[in-house]
């Protein structure tokens, strides 16, 4: 990750020089967004973001960002470091900051822009955050059990959690990640980076998830571990869970994504299927550096 830092700053200068081109691309994306808006009216999309403006304090991070995710697809959100990918996921999940000041986020046709993080999670959106954020002081099993607690408490407190994709049982997630079963009684803080990533994904799978959001799941992982995680994600996708995958590593993401968005400076600058993005050398070079 640190090795490509100089490359990024070089790219940034380049981007400024080509800002007019970026604007043109943004316009194209805006047209796409309008199309998306029309579809939302018909309730077609599982998730849609409409002209979202989000801020971190005074910094304007997401600018008029619109995108949507269809039921059952693997959608990639690509872009370089600082483009606004994580902010997008946090805006969807209802995590604050960022402060979403304009635009709407809808899930299954319901406006969730103002809903609390807990509610949004209970509605069926799970986030596997960039830093994994497993609870280091709890064992693997306890980390996984927290998802059961979430479900039980939601039910106890009268929330209707009838989900399209009920969460897996602990036994089922152990099938996906056998390594976790071996480590069941170990504190999560003692796991390797790859194992923590598995645990973070496993935890999300145990939730009643209709949309799984993965923030840079391959970051900092050794190549063989990347393969394991990639296999798991494919397995999950095959079972019909919708996935929104955020990646800086565009090549890895395009391997498993059906469709991709490219975000730059908080706006969508490309939207299309993975084939189109592979063919679009200019977009790849300009915004992804590949």
């Amino acid at each position: 990750m640190s090795s490509d830092a100089p490359e990024q700053s070089a790219d940034a200068t380049e981007t400024e020089a080509q800002s007019t081109a970026a604007e043109a691309a943004a316009e194209a994306a805006a047209a796409h967004a309008e199309e998306a808006a029309a579809a939302v009216a018909e309730g077609d999309h599982l998730l849609s973001m409409e002209a979202v403006d989000a801020y971190y304090g005074q910094s304007h991070i997401l600018r008029d960002l619109s995108m949507h995710v269809e039921e059952g697809e693997v959608c990639a959100l690509l872009g370089r470091n600082g483009a606004g990918k994580t902010t997008t996921l946090r805006s969807i999940a209802g995590a604050r900051p960022p402060d979403v000041r304009d635009g709407t986020v809808s899930f299954k046709g319901e406006n969730i822009t103002e809903r609390s993080t807990e509610d949004i999670s209970s509605l069926g959106i799970s986030l596997v955050p960039e830093e994994r954020r497993v609870f280091p002081n709890l064992t693997v099993e306890e980390n996984l059990h927290l998802s059961d607690v979430a479900r039980n408490w939601s039910n106890t407190f009268g929330r209707d959690v009838s989900m399209d994709h009920p969460g897996m049982t602990t036994a089922e997630v152990y099938e996906v990640f056998p390594r976790l079963e071996e480590r069941a009684s170990q504190k999560a803080g003692t796991l390797s980076g790859g194992e923590q990533q598995m645990l973070a994904i496993a935890r999300a799978l145990k939730q009643d998830t209709d949309l799984l959001m993965l923030d840079e799941p391959y970051e900092g992982l050794a190549p063989q571990i990347i393969e394991t995680v990639e296999d798991a994600i494919e397995q999950i996708a095959e079972k019909g869970t919708t996935i929104l995958l955020v990646e800086q590593n565009a090549v890895a993401a395009m391997n498993i994504a059906d469709r991709a968005y490219v975000v730059d400076q908080g706006s969508i600058v490309f939207a299309g299927d993975s084939e189109e993005l592979r063919a679009d050398e200019r977009t790849r070079e300009r915004y992804l550096g590949v």
């Binding site: 999670s121 954020r133 609870f135 306890e142 059990h145 927290l146 979430a150 408490w153 939601s154 939730q207």
Partner: protein, 318 residues
């Protein structure tokens, strides 16, 4: 100085007894700090309330005076009253904790720590001054019962290795360790405890999992308050009672306890309380005029060489 075996044994017992009170205070403070990242300087005020509720119950249930005497019940006395206080004080603390969380703490969760310190310190002063005005600024004698369930607890008992040891202090060790044990199990062995433990590390991630941690917050705050009030009642049964004890006997030791144990760790609060209790007890029995100096020096050295405490992972205040 050579210590006799019996002296060492009584240092240990006194240390456990004082340490258990510190642990009760430290657990409450540390779970509130850990889960809500809320620094509660009013924690000592809850100890103060616990002590004075005990005092009022004592005054109203004596054989020759007070409420019970005035309505003609003269046989119960404080021995029954203390049992009532043991139930009443944690319940009152719990209630105050719920109110404090809702009306004092919650509006300040997202405010800077300095604001939290100011509002809770202000609250502590309000409680202290109110007690001075209503009950008086004078110092009262400790309020230990003389018998409990018909058993005489005012006389020393003879223990192996120790020799004579006040039976009430012995009973305190049993009672406080029982409460600490129950609290520890509630945190370690229940779903509520699991959420609290997770919340002490990353409350946003808990919410991202769909858990309404705010409900747990009120419960955690109330639990911490109940423990502090209970500690106040126990403290009042062995030490003199005055409006200053909320700070001197409770708030400061509670902070020292979590500095030693590690912020956010229940195990740390228990261990920290015991370590401090033993230091105080050992110094009091040997070079008592150096007790405070050694205590603070020890905590200062902890801060320098092990700022995360015995069981903590993050630095205090991080």
């Amino acid at each position: 100085m050579l210590l006799l075996q019996s002296e060492i044994a009584s240092i240990l017992l006194n240390g456990l007894q004082q340490g258990a009170i510190y642990a009760l205070l430290g657990i409450g403070l540390t779970i509130i700090l850990g889960t809500m990242e809320f620094l509660n300087l009013a924690h000592g005020a809850l100890y103060l309330v616990g002590a004075y509720v005990g005092l009022i119950v004592f005054q109203e249930t004596t054989l020759t005076n007070g409420f019970l005497y005035s309505i003609g019940i003269t046989s119960l006395g404080f021995d029954g009253g203390f049992l009532a206080a043991i139930v009443l004080v944690p319940v009152i603390g719990f209630g105050i904790g719920l109110l404090m969380e809702r009306f004092v703490a919650e509006p300040f969760y997202d405010r800077p720590e300095t604001d939290q310190l100011l509002v809770t310190f202000g609250l502590a002063l309000i409680v202290e001054e109110t007690i001075k005005n209503v009950i008086g600024g004078n110092t009262f004698q400790s309020i230990a019962p003389s018998t409990l369930f018909g058993v005489n607890v005012s006389q020393p008992v003879s223990l192996p290795f120790v020799g004579l040891f006040p039976s009430w202090r012995l009973l305190i060790i049993v009672i406080t360790f029982f409460v600490i044990g129950v609290t520890y199990l509630a945190i370690e062995r229940t779903d509520f405890g699991l959420v609290v433990q997770a919340g002490t590390r990353d409350s946003e991630m808990v919410r991202l999992l769909g858990i309404k941690i705010n409900r747990s917050y009120s419960l955690v705050f109330a639990l911490g308050a109940a423990l502090a009030a209970f500690a106040g009642l126990i403290g009042a049964s062995i030490q003199t009672i005055s409006p200053q004890i909320g700070t001197t006997q409770a708030l400061v030791p509670a902070f020292l306890t979590i500095v030693v144990g590690g912020a956010g760790s229940v195990r740390g609060a228990i261990a920290g309380g015991m370590v401090l209790g033993l230091i105080i007890s050992a110094m009091t029995q040997t070079y008592s005029q150096w007790a405070q100096i050694v205590l603070y020096l020890f905590v200062a050295l902890m801060l320098v060489f092990r700022p995360q405490g015995l069981f903590g992972t993050a630095e205090v205040g991080e």
